[in-house]
Amino acid sequence: MEPNLIQFRKGVLELCVLALLSQADSYGYDIASRLSETIDMGEGTIYPLMRRMQKDGLVSTYFVESSSGPPRKYYTLTENGRQSLNRQNAAWTAFTKAVASILGQRDTPSATPAPHGSTTLTVQKA
């Protein structure tokens, strides 16, 4: 696997959790399974992350009685979390746009000769 990909995922994991919770409150298993589907992460890592976010004041928890078994812990965004989501969202959008424009430039034949560009790419991958 592309080693950078791990770093990319690490960077956006918190943002993804904030975004999920901004749609609706949720519980650990639900967050973990939805995120592992889309960004392919180990499901267990969600719990250390949620503890950290809770201590950072980005999310808070409450318990809901469940029909089966013990009460279920739900996470909800705090005001801080909502602000952090907005900031990170803006930063992410601006950043990816900037990166995309640079990547796009390299792919355009007018900017760089295409054969040259593609050889460099192959060399880097190998």
């Binding site: 791990i6 995922r9 690490k10 994991l13 519980y27 650990g28 298993y29 639900d30 973990a32 399974s33 592992s36 392919d40 992460m41 180990g42 499901e43 267990g44 890592t45 719990y47 250390p48 992350l49 503890r51 950290r52 201590k55 089966s68 078994g69 013990p70 279920r72 812990k73």
Partner: protein, 190 residues
């Protein structure tokens, strides 16, 4: 033993040393995860392997707890806890970082001790200088007083700088630990 019990046992073993309430809280989260997965029709072993390596999860949780205690309360034992947590987290990187860290730490300690000694010597000399009785000293009264004052305050500032430096290093380690969290890599469950 089934994989669910094995996962929870390994996690509990890895969390040894944390407060009991925290351990129970963490374990109840993972127990609930197994229950929810079961309801969703997954097998215990599938859930366990999707969760990842319990030993590594425990290391992350412990390191986070250690860093957090240091940030909440600056004390020597909490600093040690944070450092041990970070060391456990990134054992391999530490092969590189540790020698540097050891060097920096020993230089820091050396300066600390030297500063303390100079400060102490200055403070001891000051009363003698005031009554002009420093043994073997040729200068006049003012010189003696100024030299001992200078030694006392100079030594104290070296000590103070060392303390600030140490705090800075520990904070740097905390940030290093955070940056190196292996949060996403899916580990093969052992």
């Amino acid at each position: 033993m089934n994989s669910r019990q094995m996962f929870l046992d390994q996690l509990r073993a890895g969390l040894k040393g944390l407060p009991r309430s925290v351990v129970e809280d963490i374990l109840s989260e993972y127990t609930a995860h197994f229950d929810d997965g079961h309801t969703a029709g997954r097998s215990d072993s599938a859930i366990a392997s999707a969760l990842g390596d319990p030993a590594r999860l425990a290391r992350e949780l412990r390191a986070e707890a250690g860093l957090r205690r240091w940030e909440d309360e600056r004390s020597l034992s909490n600093a040690l806890g944070a450092i041990v947590g970070v060391l456990g987290l990134a054992a391999l990187d530490m092969l590189v970082v540790l020698p540097v860290l050891m060097t920096v730490a020993s230089v820091d300690i050396a300066f600390f001790i030297a500063g303390g000694c100079i400060c102490l010597a200055g403070s001891l000399l000051l009363p003698l200088a005031l009554v002009n009785l420093i043994p073997g000293f040729e200068g006049d009264w003012l010189q003696g007083v100024l030299i001992s004052l200078g030694m006392a305050s100079g030594g104290a500032s070296v000590v103070a700088v060392c303390v600030l430096f140490t705090l800075g290093i520990i904070n740097l380690l905390v940030r290093y630990g955070r940056a190196h969290y292996r949060l996403i890599v899916r580990a093969t469950p052992s």
